[in-house]
């Protein structure tokens, strides 16, 4: 009987091309296109900023600066316009994005540099627009590169030998990566651990939500559930059949979405600044942990969705009640994404949230067997409670027939 009910739930989706498209293919296609598009646009934006020739108005530029710029290696990246005084018109240009930076030297800059023992240190004013990408990037680049080099140039002129004022440098070798002492395994999973728990959890819930509301609340609303309840099949079997059917559909939908996600991962990681240069180093243990955590997560999601759906009189009502649960999942997913450091053990005991954190920890090889056991135990208890509550709801005439 259980198999008959499960196969009906599967057939309902798989016998309808429109439902196959909307349940499985559309979310996967959306993920693939969306993340690829986001990745391409982000890469283009970063490349564009990198290639951009910064337009800078230099006010009261000292001769030493002009001379320096003639020999500065990266001078092609800057288009300098020397002006005598700052004006409101120039500031308006920065505000409008037509000019990236106004760099204003004090009018006595050269004198103060020359008489440095008696004068105050001159301050260069850099006006920029933080809401413009080019202006913001140029501001950072000016300080860390061009003006840093100019500063060293002046010091060298002043003391004849730069080593007189530089006590030490840090990691200036040709290959700075040799100084990185990292856990290769953790590093390989770091990129995916930032995004996958969040995306997987949200996708799992979203796919189960759409099908689940239709499977139970929809059948109640249309009156097709009553025909099944009239048979000698126990209410527990009907409830379990619906739940297992939904879980299978949610897993299939998520797997297809995961394939789309993995296909877009290189682009997606470009958005967050991560990379996939290292090979993922997951072994059988990690894959088993990830699989079990995901299955438990599906169980909890399906339980929540089925319970809410059976308690609702219509798909619309179910949607209203499921939305807050979806928000909790999203909240947990984002909290896990932005969490840093080792996850405290008690976090794994929080139903639903614990699963998302456990998934992240499993992806970074940080999930201990104790943490894993806690997640399994808590999840099984929660799933058990949800299954029992859903089964009881199926037995209630008040719930099933609004009596």
């Amino acid at each position: 009987m259980l198999q008959t009910i499960i196969s009906k739930e599967l057939k309902r989706i798989f016998s309808d091309k429109r439902l196959i498209f909307s349940t499985f293919l559309l979310p996967a296609l959306s993920i693939f296109l969306m993340y690829n598009l986001m990745g391409i646009l982000t890469s283009n934006r970063l490349n564009d900023i990198e290639k951009h020739t910064a337009a800078i108005a230099v006010i009261e530029a000292p001769d030493s600066f002009k001379t320096f710029m003639e020999t500065y290696a990266d001078r092609e990246s800057y288009q300098l316009e020397y002006q005598a005084a700052i004006s409101e018109e120039l500031k308006e240009q920065v505000k409008a994005g037509d000019l990236d930076i106004i760099m204003q030297f004090p009018d006595d800059f050269a004198d103060r540099i020359a008489a440095y023992e008696k004068s105050a240190v001159p301050d260069i004013h850099i006006y920029y627009n933080p809401t413009e990408d080019y202006s913001r990037a140029t501001n950072n680049e000016l300080k860390s590169e061009l003006l840093h080099e100019y500063h060293n140039h002046l010091l060298e002129e002043r003391f004849g030998d730069l080593n007189k004022v530089i006590a030490f440098t840090t990691n200036t070798g040709e290959n700075p990566e040799i100084y990185e002492i990292k856990n290769e395994k953790k590093s390989s999973g770091f990129g995916v651990s930032q995004l996958l728990p969040m995306l997987l959890s949200i996708m799992l819930f979203a796919s189960a939500m759409g099908i689940g509301m239709e499977t139970i609340a929809g059948e109640k609303e249309r009156g097709t559930m009553g025909a099944i309840l009239l048979t000698s099949v126990s209410r527990s079997t009907i409830a379990l059949g619906k739940m297992i059917g939904l879980a299978i559909l949610a897993i299939i939908s998520t797997l297809i979405s995961v394939i789309a996600l993995v296909a877009s991962l290189p682009k997606l990681l470009a958005i967050t600044g991560g990379d996939l240069t290292g090979q993922l180093m997951y072994g059988p243990m990690e894959y088993m942990q990830i699989l079990i955590i995901l299955l438990l997560e599906v169980g909890i999601f399906v339980g929540i969705i089925c319970l809410i759906s059976v308690l609702s009189r219509s798909v619309k009502e179910a949607g209203t009640y499921i939305t807050p649960a979806y928000m909790v999942v999203m909240l947990g997913a984002f909290a896990a994404m932005f969490s840093f450091g080792k996850t405290a053990t008690f976090m794994y005991a929080i139903p639903l949230i614990g699963n998302i954190y456990a998934l992240k920890s499993a992806l970074t090889f940080e999930l201990t067997m104790i943490d894993f056991a806690i997640v399994i135990a808590v999840s099984l208890v929660v799933i058990g409670i949800l299954v029992m509550a859903t089964t009881q709801a199926f037995k209630s005439e008040k719930v099933m027939f609004n009596a």
Binding site: K11, G226, L230, F401
Partner: protein, 258 residues
């Protein structure tokens, strides 16, 4: 045989329902102390206006609702204590319960056959009988959503009696049907009677009851006010037909409640 003894059903109203019904009462009495016997091989009619408690009574017989008080026996089996057994003996057709329209007639028939514990051979044999009787064969591979209202009703009847139940309950069986389909439904009921089944129908159309029912009970505002054979009822109420008798009953018992 069906035996309803002192059946009472009281619904507890939620605050939302109280507000919708504009009442301060926390309970709604849908059926009160109803009793009747529907003998084997007869058509028993449960008559009354909309909201009288007919559907509540029928749903309780079909084990979908639990009586608040009283007892119901289907062939001597208590519907509360042995609900699963009763479900195997009863076929219930009501407009509130529909077939899933995403599937074909063929699939839905097989699905319910399996849920009724029938094997493939039994399902195929029954399908052949019922699909031929109701002329469904031509449409069996079409999705139910593509079928006409009449054909949907015929399929619903076929699914309802797939397990060849001893007791057949039809709630407003001809409601909303065209004259040809309604005739096919009433003919089938007469056919079931001829085969010795116990049939209970509910209707608010008196002419249907007059034509089909061997015995009947009239329910007004949740209470049984009359039962017996047609001629006995007409004689007691000095009425020319059932409609006339019903209005006399309604004036008498309907007023009391007000």
């Amino acid at each position: 045989m069906l035996e309803v003894k002192d059946f009472t059903k009281i619904y507890k109203l939620s605050k939302k329902q109280m507000k919708e019904m504009r009442t301060d009462e926390h309970n709604k009495v849908a059926a009160s102390h109803i009793d009747f016997i529907a003998p084997k091989g007869e058509i028993f009619g449960l008559l009354g206006p909309n909201g009288a408690g007919k559907t509540t009574t029928l749903r309780s017989i079909a084990t979908l609702l639990t009586p608040t008080a009283g007892e119901i026996f289907v062939n001597g089996v208590n519907v509360v204590k042995e609900a699963d057994k009763v479900r195997g003996m009863v076929g219930f057709l009501t407009n509130d319960i529909k077939m899933d329209e995403n599937f074909t007639a063929d699939y839905i028939f097989e699905f319910f056959g399996k849920l009724r514990g029938m094997d493939k051979e039994q399902i195929d044999k029954r399908k052949q009988e019922l699909f031929s009787y109701f002329n469904i064969n031509e449409y069996k591979d079409k999705k139910i959503e593509e079928l006409s209202t009449g054909m949907k009703q015929k399929l619903a009847i076929a699914v309802c009696v797939i397990h060849d139940p001893e007791i057949v309950i039809f709630d407003e069986p001809t409601n909303g049907l065209d004259i040809i389909t309604a005739k096919a439904v009433t003919d089938y009921l007469l056919d079931l009677r001829a085969r010795g089944k116990t049939i209970i129908i509910s209707t608010h159309i008196m002419s249907v009851a007059e034509k089909l029912c061997d015995r009947m009970a009239i329910i007004i505002q949740g209470k049984k006010v009359e039962d017996g054979k047609l001629d006995e009822i007409l004689k007691r109420w000095e009425a020319s037909d059932l409609e006339d008798a019903f209005f006399k009953m309604y004036v008498t018992y309907g007023k009391e409640e007000k």
